[in-house]
Amino acid sequence: MRGWRTLISKDWKLIYRNRLLLVVLLVYPFVIMGVIGAAFQESGRPVPLGVVNLDRPGGPTIIWFELLTPRPSGLERTLFREAEESTACASLDQAVEGLEGGGFNLTAAAVEEGSEPRCSGHLMGPGVLEWLLDEMESSAEEVRYRDSGLEALEELRASGNGLLVGVPSASCPYLGESLWMEGRAHDSSSLLCDFSRDVAEVREYAERSAALEDLRKGRVDAVLLIPPGFVRRLKALEKVAEVEVVLDQSSLVKAEFAETAVRGFLSRISERVVEEKMRAVVAGLRILVEGGDFFGTRVVGLSRIKEDLVGLREKLADDPKLAASLEEGIGLADAVMEDIGEAADYLRSTALPVELRITSVAGRPLAAKDAVVPSLIALSMLWTGVLCGAVLMVLEDEEGMGVRLRLTEMGPLALVGSKLLLAAGIVFVQSAVMLLLAVAVFGAMASNIYLALVTIALSSLSCIGMGLVVAAFARQVAGAVILGLLFSFPLVFITGIIFPLNLMPSFMRVLARAIPLTYSVEALSGVMLRGEGPAGVLGEWLALLGFGLFFLALGSLLVRRRAG
């Protein structure tokens, strides 16, 4: 037993007196737990949600409806038929001019494959516009709302056949309607504001494009598009209010969080609406029994009918006048049965008053494999870059060649630069092969491979630079590998790969901005999944370049100082 004690005591002393072992075994777990704990500290934080509310006055001047339908000419004919005046226009711009000048209150562009869009302007009579919009929306396969006519036209042309309709928001018949709920009137803005308070931090946008830009930049985690007539549909018996939520699926976790938050508060709105309607139905049913005003219909009430029928049964044989009264009672009973049937329809339509349509900022829904590839490549670059940079630098000292090399004609720049080039080459080739395999073999999405390769090249610089910094604290290859892994592992938790940045505490978000990997992931996701061009990721590229140069300079300085 004494021997065991001696051995354990010896091993403890060896651990205690070896700084690296001490850090790895005793201190590092606390560091990791600290980082993870800090990252998840505020996991209940509201999701930043961009909202484009088209169902309110004072929004965009013109609301554009993209009506996807295989036969736009049918809808177009309806327009011409119902309009008081119609004019064919040479272009959408001309139609818009007419709209802005007040000559028209509706403009349309019919898009059919193989032919140029046919633009027209129309003046609709009072009441017709609302009916027409309802009619067209219900006959289209899908309706999208946009804030730019030209953008909508391009989108429609890319999608196939459809009709683009523009209506001045001032002419829109049902914007800003309100709904009585919980003892007060709610318009769309107050509904969103009240019901999203705990789960989302709402930022309102006037334009869809601005909201989507912020979604791409990670300033919001989702964009909710409230269509014109949203509240009106909530109130209507036979309609469902459809909202569109755009998610950034390049980060699956972020998208999941955002979708859950949006679904959460929309379902709360649905519940309240259903509750209000049920309350109305219950009151209505009571009226059916007691008698009174049932949604505008004066009903006698079942109790009265029952009394009459009882009276009839007793007196029918003695008094011929009662025969007429019996006839009236039968008529009333028919009316009541019809009303109850309507009430049943009402209940069916209120079961799901809000429907969510999910789209991706990438333009198409992303699969898990699509979203995972940029993160995997960034992680691979981090580990390969840090390890490659650190090991190549330490290798000289481990082999004892550092001294000899410093005596040769080659300056420190060449000694560090040559390693940097080799390491950058290794990281670049490895990451490029991963990218190409992911795209070619697994069919992962990469909107622009060339821009992804540029991002990889810039990212590799900073990763290797971090490796040089690590090398300054290691004497042997094994030590450099361990230090490299210890250094890079916590970064994974801070850079939004695992947990969305927007849901982290503010100091962690600031910290994340000081880590190149954050920019690598953002730029790679941008060019591969969100269809960003060079301008869209220029900020990330410059940050990566800056970090690369900074870490290279710092690493070189530390390595030189240690050599001295």
Partner: protein
Amino acid sequence: MTEQGRGLFLEVRGLEKDFRGYRALEGVSIEVKEGETFGLIGPNGAGKTTLVRILTGQIAPTRGEILVDGRPIQPEEHRFRRRLGLVPQEPSFYGRLTPAENLALLAGLYGISTHRASERVRELLEWAGLREHARRQVRFLSRGMQQRLSLAMGLVHDPEILFLDEPTSGLDPEARSAVWEMVRELSGQGRTIFMTTHNMEEADHLCHRLAILVMGKIRERGTPAEIKRLLGTDRLELRLEEGGLPELMRVCRELSLDCGEEEGVMVVSGDSLPEKLPLIASRLSGSLRDLRYREVTLEDAFLRFMEEVGN
């Protein structure tokens, strides 16, 4: 070994080096003549490697002056670095490269043309006895072969002065002997060599002149013979029959020799002891049980010196 040399090649004046409050070198002044092998001896931690690192431009001195060919220089100067070769104390080569690749790499980094480099590699492999092992990875070679390669690597660019930092440390006698032979050959070719060692036999065999560095200070300098003379002399150890002591004392008085007792053995020392030895032996022939002549070695002298410094 006779002292060689023409002019001064390297001169160090009042060199000092401080490391975070600890003075590793203090007022070090030495002179290395052109073509000589200069040895710096001293115990572990004396500051030998620090001095080599300063002279080869790896670290800067805190104070002091270094002159080459009579002109002050900064050792990290590119022009001077080109003129020096270094064989570090620790193994220094790429283990996964072959000897030929290691040599060719350095030749390339010193800017030697490809054609000349391949010639130079061949010459050095031949000189170091590694021609047959030229294509084996260095990590598979014996420690002796690796040290011979290390020596050859220090000579790739044909430097004027070669710094050897404890070149035979950790080698077996055979390997050490081979390295000594190579150093002697270089010295014979007139190459200036600056070597550090704590092996006194090595210093005695290889160096024309020596300096003793203890605790960062140069304590003695001179040829090995001068240092031996300074620090100790040859001596005669005698064991006598009873009654022989008075005759020994008489002889020592007559021959002006010192005489004393150390652990039951009579010790006689003084000038021209080898010449006086036959007379002593004949005078004491009747009472002499045992006689040993002990020639002083550099190691004896050094140990005695260290004892004095310690005291």
